[in-house]
Symmetry: C2
Subunit: 229 residues, 2 copies
């Protein structure tokens, strides 16, 4: 086991490994080699072994990894041995969809509070039983419900304002669905999920596919800057 810095990408991969392992476990498969798992997850097998080696020795030489055991260990590494309480701020279309989304609960994430500023929405009971509270009660309710992570689903313009309230509570984890750069004091952990950034990457890749790969005709590559023409 090494105590060197662990690449952030390794953590993302651990998360993907759990998906694969859960799938395999549900098929009643007991053991898997790094080679096979690598194929399934579309990564290099040494990468898997190295990712795991950051945290311990979980495999059996000549055999592979016991799936149930490895799942347990990875979940422990990720901190999924406990339930995480989420509060969501901004109950527009996206906020409502997120609350109703089943994947969160499956992985041990629970929405325990929801907030909005719109008086028409406040008090409404959501499908999961919680009701929408006014933003002014953020602090009180988050402390009461022991919220770990704030999920920001407000419009971009309101996000920083909300974050400023959140960092006073203090909730150390923020998941930001708004397309805005957030500034937080040191010690807070922010992750972004920005749909249009992903779309932009797709647009870029699609614009740059070699012509042989393209399904339809296309004009000049858009990246040939005017400076070069």
């Amino acid at each position: 086991m090494k105590f060197s810095r662990i690449p952030a990408a390794a953590i993302t991969r651990l998360s993907r490994y759990t998906r694969a392992l859960e799938e395999l476990d549900s098929q009643n498969i007991k053991v898997i080699s790094s080679e096979k798992l690598a194929e399934y997850c579309d990564v290099n097998s040494a990468q898997i072994r190295k990712d795991l080696a950051y945290f311990g020795e979980f495999g059996v030489r000549g055999v592979g990894y016991f799936i149930k055991e490895l799942l347990f260990e990875i979940k422990r590494i990720l901190g999924l041995h406990k339930e995480w309480n989420l509060a969501i701020i901004g109950m527009g279309n996206l906020g409502c969809a997120l609350i109703a989304h089943s994947n969160f609960a499956k992985q041990g994430y629970r929405f325990v509070a929801a907030f909005d500023v719109d008086p028409d929405k406040i008090g409404r009971i959501l499908p999961n039983g919680i009701s929408i509270s006014p933003l002014s009660e953020l602090k009180k309710i988050c402390l009461e419900k022991e919220v770990d992570i704030a999920v920001i689903a407000t419009p971009a313009g309101k996000a920083q304002e909300v974050v400023n309230m959140v960092t006073e509570i203090p909730i150390r984890g923020i998941l930001n669905f708004s397309p805005s750069q957030l500034h937080v004091p040191e010690g807070f952990v922010v992750h972004h999920i920005d749909f249009t950034v992903k779309l932009d990457r797709l647009a870029y890749r699609l614009s740059h596919l070699r012509p042989s790969d393209r399904p339809r005709g296309s004009d000049n590559p858009p990246w040939v800057s005017k400076h070069l023409l």
Copy 2:
């Protein structure tokens, strides 16, 4: 200008620069230095200059970058000089929220088709004017509407099946909101948006905050494997 390989991360940053530049532009600011933009985007200023240098020379020495001009250039690099037509497959909570979400339209992404298998949903007219079509008509409608990118918002179990249909059309770009590993032939571009992967990263980071940073008491670090105890 260099023709070396361009880091994928550079493209993601370009996308974030556009956000910042649009913000600055709306404040009627005309020029910005890489230093200032870097501060705003929370990256190194050399990084910005290098990212841009992959594609051309857009700055003025001793001055900085003209915001409107740079915005135009980056959008061209990303392929945002054209509109992109999206089809969405799976009209559950998430699918509906995505269609209603305003950020897509703002950046030149248009939903032109929506699909589901549920007979109750088929035919329903959505807020943006399009109606939900049966999945069986995927190929016909996508060709008709010149769809560029398929957005997968089905449950995990259905995603690969849908992707197999999509790759026959052929639509080369796929944005996958389901938490499943997708397999596609070469030449197709897939990006994932997996909420729980991001939450897992948050959970990991929060579990591993140094005690001095922690808001509440905590037991043993979960990553100390039993092998070490």
